[in-house]
Amino acid sequence: MTGWMILGIADMLAPTHVLAIVPLGLLAGRDPWRWALLAFFIVGLTAGSLAIAAAVRETPAALVLLVIAATAGLTVATAWQPPSVATGLLALAGGMALALNTPPQATIIGGAVIAQISGIIAAMSALALVIALGSRARAPWQRVGLRIAGSWAAASAILVLALRLAR
């Protein structure tokens, strides 16, 4: 059981997923409705997991994640505060794409369920952590640091997106 849990967590915290979670969390962290945005994310994760369980066919979830990472990163870098609804939709899409991009690798149903639930909890926790960190940035240099982090995330996502679309 521990093995399936670790597998689920490792799959959910893959580089592409972390690249999306970090700027999304930083963006949500600046929003007054940040914890509601986390709820949107969880809804997305759940919906995506249910779609996986319903054996949905291959989706462009990885590309969607990169677009979300680039969008959220650019928004954080520019220090622009979009409407909470827009950020909520981004969080919803992010959650869904994360789950869809993490099909269970377990060969038994029980293992797949454990892996999926573990992954959801890991993603939820990671986003909550980044939201909490982002919301605590008050000093000017801390806000600049967040903008730099957003810029890095956006730059990485743009490069990988270009690579995947070009090749």
Binding site: V144, W152, A162
Partner: protein
Amino acid sequence: MPGEPGGKMRMRVSTSLSVAGYAMALLPLAAPALAHSGEAGAGGFISGFQHPLLGPDHIVAMVAVGLWGAFLGAPAIWLLPVVFPLVMAAGGVLGILSVPIMGVETGIAVSATVLGLMVALAARPALWIAAVLVAAFAIFHGYAHGKELPAGAGAVAFSAGFVIATGLLHLCGVAFGLIASWPAGRIAVRAAGAVIALVGAAYLAGMA
């Protein structure tokens, strides 16, 4: 801290940034302990992180961006590290798409020379001029990295690695550049700019 005199605030910020910058400068020296090396995760990140560090011309140019930003002061000091990775990514996209750009390596060497000279001569052009100059050079650096971006599972980790390494080099430059607040520090920063310009010139002359 709220209400604190501006001078003490700047000193506290500059001290924190300097400490962070020196600590980050040591990161590339850390030997990673990897049980499994692979392109998809830590291995790809390490490869990407090392990529800007394998070329002295890249290193000095990136440090010069941070140095010059610190020299120019706010808002350049934080604007350049925020904008540079994004413009570099644009250059990287050109590299990925194999858009023909002549003289990329020459452009990188010129960037080190010009940026080093800007610092050495204590040049303070208008912000938009500095931004355009840095952006132009960022295209060349990004193009070089983009051409070597690996396809497949390692791409995300690799790109994150070299973007972060580039950003940390900027921050090292910013941290060092903050000593320009003092007269002796100003001389040291300008001397560093001269060294960077010489390194760039050596590359241009084919001596490196």
